[in-house]
Amino acid sequence: MQKLGDFKLPQFFNYPPYFTLQPVRDTREKQVQLWKDLILDYCKTQHIFVIELEEEFPLFSNPVIERSLSHEARKAFLSALVTEGRAEWLDKGHRKCLILWHRIQDWADIILRFVKDNGLEDGVMTIEEIRSGIESRGTELHGIDRTILMRALKLLEHKGKLAIFKGTSTDDEGVKFSV
């Protein structure tokens, strides 16, 4: 089985037409579906949050069959993810894409679980600590993308589960939980 790092690739990754944007509608739909799932799977296991279109992305090339996705194809598949709500463009030029292999709502639930697991129902924590503190090690929160974390926290703030307060610098930004 072919691997990309420690990620197990499916058999059809070696099928050359997989790397050419198919014009026939039904075929294209299937192709898009497979790419969407593959991208999400890969990003989840590799903890990748952002894909830059103009940079090399290992999933988009297969040196074994000497094929890689064209710029147009990459854009097409990422746009499909955006349409489905599993990704967002970070810039107007559509060059950077934020991958939501967990939806924002899912992240919010993960944060709540984290809070409960660590007895922080009334506690306070800085943003950085949530991202890289000792408690976060071993959890999915570790190394989470800042943008995603802020969005999830804002969602929870809206629900009244916490309050975000600003410190003197970004390092001091913190959260007061009231779960």
Binding site: P10, F12, N14, Y15, Q22, K30, L34, D37, R67
Partner: protein
């Protein structure tokens, strides 16, 4: 047999075919023809010409009649072709083509002069001649009831009969055929062409000059006569134009207004008006479908015959552009335009030709046999593309061309069509444009790593893993 001349509204063949009581049967269904020699006709309804015979004029809806008696066969409403050697009459009903006859001009002993009278203006144009058959003398009348250039036909008939083209093999005074067709310049001339013979008619210079001289003299005379009538004509012309315009408007408004079932009478008179306009020579604006000028019909049949050999050589499918080149090259002179070719192809469906025009999504137009089957081609493609080499590396249009026995451009069209049906997938890379068997339907979207035991996907996995 008294001759019955139907009134205006029954004159046009088109209307008489539609719903009125048919005054004449089409074609000669029961012609026990022991009178005239029969004429060979191709499968597309074109006559088979004798060596050095040239086609000159065509008339449609022609009856051949005789005072001879009841034993004369019924030869009604056929296509009359005047050639340098014969008068060929082909029934319009395509199943009766075997009843086509030909009257050799050499057997005509006398042509009666046609007197112009008031009466003759209102009747169908006709000409009588005496023909000697089986040591019997017979008077035949050609009655032209349809479209066709009668004024071009009549002098050409005289000319061809006098020209006696059948007496000489080549050269000298038989300059009539090829030269005067271009001088008289009628649009219904298709000129004929010879594939097996390949010879060009030898033309004597004296003959050409003589013909030209005669032509100029007669033109001069008729011009003089015309100018005298011209002034009278001009004053009437304006009235006629206004009248025609009124008719046209009436017809147009008649077609636009809602005509329900109860309005049959109005429909009837509208048709009469349409027919009358046609017989006067004005094209009706409400005709939905043009039957095509006679020229195009004959061209279409000729093309259907011609196309068979190249089509076979090309494996059943040939590019329209290639046919254009081949056909014109074979014709030599009197080349046809691309529009004429296209028009001729579209007319094929009207007389059940064995070939058809087909347009691919990419815009490429080809001619193929009606019996051509796409499904059969797809089966062959599928077989080709599931071979181990093709599973590994796919196929190109050239590979398919070799297997299918057709041109690469045609093969590509087939591959693209197969792709659009979901049989193949494309692979575009620096290696080129290749096609693979479509595996996508067999891939499980819920479980990416799953490969079922049976099916093309598992075959593919086995082959590429080896």
């Amino acid at each position: 047999m008294t001759y019955y001349d139907p009134p205006f509204h029954l004159r046009n063949k088109r209307s008489s075919r539609k719903k009125r009581v048919v005054q004449r049967t089409e074609g000669s269904m029961a012609s026990s023809n022991n009178f005239f020699p029969s004429a060979s006709v191709t499968s597309s309804g074109r006559p088979v010409f004798l060596p050095n015979e040239i086609e000159c004029q065509l008339l449609s809806a022609v009856d051949l009649e005789s005072d001879d008696g009841p034993s004369f066969p019924s030869l009604k409403s056929g296509l009359l072709i005047l050639t340098t050697h014969r008068l060929i009459w082909i029934p319009s009903n395509s199943s009766a083509h075997s009843n086509a006859i030909a009257i050799p001009l050499s057997l005509i002993t006398h042509i009666f002069s046609s007197k112009k009278s008031i009466k003759s203006i209102f009747h169908s144009p006709r000409i009588r001649f005496q023909v000697s058959l089986n040591s019997k003398s017979l008077v035949v009348t050609v009655v032209a009831r349809g479209k066709g250039d009668w004024d071009g036909f009549l002098p050409k008939f005289w000319e061809n009969w006098r020209g006696r083209a059948w007496e000489t093999s080549a050269g000298g005074s038989t300059a009539d055929g090829s030269v005067t067709t271009s001088i008289s310049g009628t649009s219904s001339n298709s000129g004929g062409f010879y594939l097996n013979d390949g010879s060009v008619r030898m033309v004597g210079l004296a003959g050409i000059l003589r013909k030209e001289q005669e032509m100029w003299e007669s033109t001069d005379k008729s011009l003089q006569e015309a100018f005298q009538d011209l002034n009278a004509l001009m004053s009437k012309a304006k009235e006629m134009v206004m009248l025609a315009e009124k008719m046209r408007q009436k017809l147009l408004s008649g077609s636009n207004s809602e005509t329900n079932a109860g309005n049959n009478e109005e429909m009837g008179s509208k048709e009469e008006m349409q027919d009358w306009l046609l017989s006067v020579g004005i094209i009706s604006p409400v005709t939905k479908e043009s039957a095509g000028a006679l020229y195009h019909q004959q061209l279409s049949r000729q093309l259907a015959d011609f196309v068979r050999t190249p089509l076979e050589r090309a494996g059943g499918m040939i590019n329209l552009i290639d046919i254009y080149c081949l056909f014109n090259r074979a014709r030599g002179t009197e080349l046809i335009s691309p529009e004429d070719l296209l028009q001729a192809c579209t007319l094929w469906e009207k007389f059940d030709a064995p070939v058809m025009l087909r347009k691919f999504d990419s815009g490429v137009m080809v001619i193929q046999n009606k019996s051509h089957s796409d499904e059969e081609v797809f089966t062959r493609i599928k077989t080709l593309v599931t071979k181990p080499d093709a599973l590994q590396a796919g196929i190109t249009a050239s590979d398919a061309a070799m297997t299918l026995g057709i041109a690469p451009a045609m093969a590509k069209e087939h591959l693209l069509t197969a792709e659009s049906r979901g049989i193949l997938c494309r692979d575009i890379s620096p290696d080129g444009f290749r096609f693979y068997i479509n595996l996508f339907p067999e891939i499980d979207s819920d479980d990416m790593h799953m490969v079922k035991d049976h099916g093309i996907y598992s075959l593919w996995v086995r082959v590429v893993s080896a």
